[in-house]
């Protein structure tokens, strides 16, 4: 055999090997997710996104429920990362942040993706949500409805809208600036009253704050306050007024009174990231992947039962604003960057 043909065979073999290994790689993508919240709200959406990736992209998925064993979070991260078999490890829940940062230092080859938030560490990948854009649409809806006033059932003519935040911190302010900008853009004459509960786990206080806002003329209150905010939604039912949900579909907390929910579609965000890996893209540590109105990672869901009370022209304006945000015609202010 001449050296020529030998070389050719070798080349073919190499490329065949390369092809094979690429196929093997695509098949063998496996991802893990660790959180204590898989059974509720945001966690359900993450599981949904991963299941879709499992089905459509053929990746292997492992879920690790941390329970509430706060003492061994670090060990759970070690168990996940030490084998090195996972291409991505999704992490959700602020109580895991310390353990996550330690694990990211200890296992630089494992790619951790922190969902819904950005930390200082440059060794973690971030799946973030353009909550300011979603809040912009919530603000626009609330202000347009307040402008309609008593034309709509259950609304007064206070020409004001409310906002109840958990604590006065940058993340919550990010919702507020979007909400405010949306309201001002859609209906400049409507007043915005923004208050903070100072706590995320006191629904009674959320309810009380909402009653105060209703008493001062607001008829629609947007909650960004975790469980405190669930008190906001319940207060809207007790007072026969309206509220807006956040993060997940909260329409069921007070049916008929939650006007809309600003959704962060974690399923979309998670699926897109897994797909990037399967497609062979490299996710750089420290990079921030923001799911926004354009990608469908953030949206304003009008709640069934209330949606038909919303006048058609309000819905049209909302669609127009949504298109403007997606096309970049409107830039929504933010406090987190």
């Amino acid at each position: 055999m001449s050296s020529w043909s030998r070389r050719l065979v070798a080349l073919c073999g190499a490329s065949a090997f390369a092809l094979m290994s690429q196929a093997a790689l695509a098949k063998d993508v496996s991802v893990a997710a660790i959180s204590g919240y898989f059974a509720q709200g945001f966690g359900v959406a993450i599981v949904e996104g991963l299941k879709k990736a499992e089905k459509d992209l053929g990746v292997k998925v492992k879920l690790v429920d941390t329970g509430n064993r706060a003492l061994d979070y670090e060990e759970q991260f070690n168990n996940l990362a030490k084998g090195g078999e996972y291409d991505l490890v999704f992490v959700m829940g602020w109580e895991l942040v310390d353990a996550l940062q330690k694990a990211a230092e200890a296992y630089p080859n494992t790619k951790f993706v922190f969902i819904d938030g950005v930390l200082d560490s440059k060794k973690i990948i971030y799946a973030n949500f353009a909550q300011n854009q979603g809040s912009f649409l919530a603000g626009a809806l609330a202000a347009l409805m307040a402008e309609k006033g008593s034309e709509v059932e259950g609304l007064g003519d206070g020409k004001a809208i409310g906002f109840v935040g958990g604590r006065d911190i940058p993340v919550i302010r990010d919702f507020l600036v979007g909400y405010e900008q949306g309201a001002k853009t859609a209906a400049p004459d409507v007043r915005l009253d923004a208050v903070f509960a100072g706590t995320f786990d006191d629904p009674a206080k959320g309810s009380e704050l909402t009653m105060a806002l209703y008493g001062q003329g607001s008829d629609i209150v947007y909650n960004v306050a975790g469980p405190t905010g669930e008190g906001v939604l319940q207060a809207s039912a007790a007072a026969g007024k309206y509220s807006i949900g956040v993060d997940v579909n909260q329409c069921d907390v007070a049916p008929g009174h939650v006007m809309a929910s600003m959704l962060k579609n974690a399923n979309v965000a998670v699926y897109d990231l897994v797909k990037d890996v399967v497609d062979g893209k490299t996710l750089e540590p420290g990079s921030i992947h923001t799911a926004d109105v354009k990608s469908g990672g953030v949206e304003l869901l009008l709640c069934p039962g209330v949606a038909d009370k919303i006048p058609a022209d309000v819905k049209e304006k909302l669609e127009a604003l949504k298109a403007d945000i997606a096309s970049g015609k409107i830039t929504v202010a933010t406090t987190t960057q």
Partner: protein
């Protein structure tokens, strides 16, 4: 003038009554142990398990009233453990109280995870709250009618209990026994009163009201349970108890003051004052007023405290943290 009208109206009074009620209930519960000479900081935990089991009981039975009973039973169990450790085994009451608070926090979270598979909060699942009471004929009373009608039943109970407890401590035999045991245990012993039995009774009565306060939070004030939803109300009650010495009338004043400044502060926020400042107001006001309220009964302690604060301030002005009032109320 317009600003004042926005702040001071009948809704402020209503809000004050609403915010006062849960603290009043739990503080009145604490008055039993305070009067019996037990320093009970376990109120927060008893309130929390009360709130949790009220929700569980309601979901299981479909009736909020059975839920209230379950909440009370749970709080009584915690109170019984407290009495067992503190009265029978003579353990340190602060340590036991703290331990039971931590137990209550952890237990409710773990049980929530075990039963519902979630963390955070429970609502739905067929959960119904206590119905608001519309008093008859209040329409004729105008704004006053608006002020006194439409609360959930336990709010009324909290306020009715104040005169009841005043009578109880001054007229009822058990009330007098509780006071004797607290003030002069030797005298009680000489009279043949069983200190153990009285302290157990006081602890259980305390558990009863703390459980009701918890059930009010999860079935009256809101219709849900949230991790740590008592949110420091039990500790606020402890602060009020220290200064009021367990007297029902002073407890009412302290709670009303706290409730009023809380309700007012929530409204002040809409005027654009920073939430951090505003949210500290109720705690500061309540503490200052309670200091003033108890000045006569313990001037020496207060003068010493003021003097040492003055010394600390003159030595190093940043040793006193302005937010200690709110910090102290957090678990």
């Amino acid at each position: 003038m317009e600003v004042l009208e926005r702040l001071l109206n009948v809704t402020l009074v209503i809000a004050t009554i609403r915010t006062t009620a849960p603290i009043l209930l739990v503080a009145l519960g604490g008055s039993f142990t305070t009067k019996a000479g037990i320093f009970n900081i376990g109120l927060e935990g008893q309130m929390l398990v009360g709130a949790f089991f009220a929700v569980i009981g309601t979901i299981a039975s479909g009736s909020p009233w059975i839920g209230v009973l379950c909440g009370v039973a749970a709080a009584l169990t915690l109170a019984l453990i407290f009495a067992l450790l503190v009265v029978t085994f003579k353990a340190n009451e602060v340590v036991v109280g703290l331990a039971l608070n931590i137990l209550a926090g952890g237990m409710t979270v773990s049980l929530m995870k075990a039963i519902f598979g979630t963390r955070g909060s429970i609502f739905g699942h067929g959960l119904v709250g206590l119905p608001p009471l519309k008093l008859p004929n209040v329409k004729d009373l105008g704004w006053f009618g608006q002020m006194i009608s439409g609360y959930t039943p336990l709010v009324y109970l909290a306020f009715i209990l104040v005169p009841v407890l005043i009578l109880f401590y001054n007229r009822a035999r058990l009330g007098l026994y509780i006071r004797v045991v607290g003030e002069k245990p030797e005298a009680a012993e000489a009279l043949g009163i069983s200190i153990t039995r009285i302290r157990y009774t006081a602890s259980l009565l305390c558990g009863l009201l703390a459980g009701l306060a918890g059930a009010h939070l999860s079935l009256g004030y809101t219709t849900m349970f949230t991790e740590n939803m008592s949110s420091g109300r039990g500790f606020m009650a402890v602060a009020i108890l220290i200064f009021s010495n367990g007297d029902p009338l002073k407890i009412l004043l302290g709670c009303l003051l706290f409730g009023f400044s809380d309700a007012l502060s929530l409204r002040l926020q809409t005027l654009g004052i920073s939430s951090y400042l505003v949210l500290a107001v109720p705690y500061l006001v309540a503490l200052i007023a309670l200091f003033a309220l108890s000045y006569r009964s313990r001037p020496r302690v207060i003068q010493e405290t003021l003097a040492s604060m003055g010394r600390a301030l003159s030595v190093k002005s940043n040793t006193i943290k302005p937010r200690t009032a709110t910090d102290a109320s957090k678990p």
